[in-house]
């Protein structure tokens, strides 16, 4: 009951801000005579988007699939790399600079290259999503391991626990809150990365849809697709909280207890 109210209290302020923005935009588009091809009012975006919802939906699903597969791939790799970094100083010193460097490559340059290398299929999209989501997840995990309680680690050593046992019993659980933070940062990049990859060359997807709409001066449909991609990101973002509550219920609980 109070929890539902808490969620409600967190939801309404952004909704009010959003509503004010939409109203201002609506008034400006209608009163300034700017024209629908340049800036259609939100009412028209909604109307056109709804009229074309079947096509929008058909293009949302491929994007969602790219995001989810790319994300899964990223998770597996990020976990393996984070364990290597945690286990060995050499791995940390050699991998971290490379990882940081990989984040400086502009997506807009990389997207067409990946298409040249891997074609128009699913692979380049998955790779691009994995590439941009990989880094925050690795950092979240690595910093999370490092946040483990020193006494807890020493305690396990005095008990004669091996490195892998200590990792499993202390370092990994201690890293999970940081991991979920990294996950949330990553997920906000994921949809954008998939759309970028589609822009560079694809048959389906929100990126393709936007490109087509833009080519036929349907600014209203471009914006409708933008709204859909924003909603997609929001849903995925919210999903991380649901997973977190299932995996580490102790984390939120321990924060609620007054110390």
């Amino acid at each position: 009951m109070s929890r539902a109210r808490g969620i409600l209290e967190r939801v309404w302020p952004p909704l009010v801000v959003l509503a004010l923005g939409v109203v201002a935009w609506e008034l400006y588009s209608r009163l300034s005579g700017i024209g629908n091809a340049v800036l259609p009012p939100p009412s028209r975006v909604a109307e056109s988007g709804w009229a074309d919802h079947a096509s929008l939906w058909d293009n949302t699903l491929p994007t969602l699939r790219e995001v989810l597969i790319g994300f899964a791939l990223s998770l597996v790799f990020a976990f393996v790399v984070s364990v290597a970094i945690d286990a060995s100083g050499i791995a940390r010193r050699s991998l971290m600079p490379v990882l940081v460097g990989s984040q400086t490559i502009p997506l807009i340059v990389l997207a067409p290259l990946v298409v040249i290398w891997f074609g128009f299929g699913l692979t380049p999209k998955i790779l691009l999503v994995a590439l941009v989501t990989f880094f925050p997840i690795v950092v979240g995990l690595v910093e999370g391991y490092a946040s483990s309680d020193r006494d807890a680690i020493t305690l396990l050593r005095t008990m004669g626990a091996s490195w892998s046992k200590t990792f499993r019993l202390v370092r990994l659980p201690a890293a999970l809150p940081g991991f979920f933070t990294g996950l949330r940062i990553a997920i906000t990049y994921a949809v954008v990365a998939a759309i970028f990859a589609e822009y560079a060359g694809a048959e389906f997807g929100l990126g393709v849809y936007m490109q087509g709409a833009k080519a036929s001066f349907r600014t209203d449909l471009v914006l409708a697709a933008v709204v859909v991609s924003a909603l997609l990101t929001l849903v995925l973002f919210a999903a991380t909280y649901v997973v977190q509550a299932l995996v580490i219920p102790w984390y939120a609980e321990s924060k609620r207890v007054p110390q």
Binding site: D151, T154, T158, E253
Partner: protein, 250 residues
């Protein structure tokens, strides 16, 4: 019997232990009393094998300790895992140090709960416990390791004064029943008097033993013991050995 002979340790230029010698008999409760930074915790790190000594030796019944060492360490912070329930935290000792399977470890942890006043809290997570209960759970986890000797590093240091006294009395009672071999690090003179058979006083860094005191107060000891002239006298002697109140600067 545990014998520590002339133990030395420095970190670079900083001498932490400068020849500490002490002994602990089987079933004895020995306290190591000293000011902050006198190397008490370092002594435990060396005993448990976490850190090597620079000199001196440790003998268990006359021979160097074999792995796993017969010491169960309880850290100053309770180091309870928030993702584990009380029962699972205690089971950790059976699981990791004792090598028991998960189920058996849980069963034996559950069986320990009444002894430590934690009955009904098996499935509670540590952040819902009071400070005193957390320390009792941490002590249960230490006992669950099944090692011969408990090394307790200021177990009640972070508690408020009333809870601390409560737990000191409780530990005295439970020790009288279980007769573990205990080495207790503390800077609380009253705690040392109330609980110990013998007290070693360490001087300021670099740590050396500046005094050894038998505590011949009759057992069982309770809250009345604290008011006895013998206890008061010993407290004064210990404070003097620690050099408290002798500096003109204060």
């Amino acid at each position: 019997m545990i014998e520590v002979r002339n133990l030395q340790k420095s970190y670079g230029e900083l001498d932490v232990l400068a020849g500490v010698s002490l002994r602990v008999e089987q079933g004895e409760f020995v306290s190591i009393l000293g000011p902050s930074g006198c190397g008490k915790s370092t002594l435990f790190s060396i005993l448990t094998g976490i850190e090597p000594a620079d000199g001196g030796e440790i003998l268990i019944d006359g021979v160097p300790p074999t792995e796993p060492r017969p010491f169960a360490w309880m850290p100053q912070s309770d180091a309870l895992f928030p993702w584990r329930t009380v029962e699972q935290n205690i089971a950790l000792g059976f699981e990791v140090a004792g090598g028991l399977g998960r189920r058996e470890a849980s069963e034996r942890a559950r069986a320990l709960l009444p002894t430590f006043g934690l009955e009904g809290f098996a499935d509670t997570r540590p952040y819902h416990l009071s400070g005193g209960m957390r320390q009792r759970a941490a002590l249960a986890r230490t006992v669950a390791q099944g090692r011969n000797t408990l090394l307790l590093d200021e177990p009640f240091g972070a508690l408020d004064a009333l809870t601390r006294t409560d737990l000191q009395l409780w530990l005295g009672e439970i020790w009288a029943r279980e007769r573990w071999t205990v080495v207790l690090i503390t800077h609380d003179v009253r705690e040392a008097v109330l609980l110990s058979d013998r007290v070693y006083v360490l001087g300021p860094r670099p740590g050396t033993v500046v005094g050894e005191f038998e505590v011949s107060l009759p057992r069982p000891r309770g809250i009345a013991t604290l008011g006895s002239p013998a206890a008061a006298e010993l407290e004064v002697e210990l404070l003097q050995a620690l050099g408290v109140g002798q500096s003109a600067a204060h």
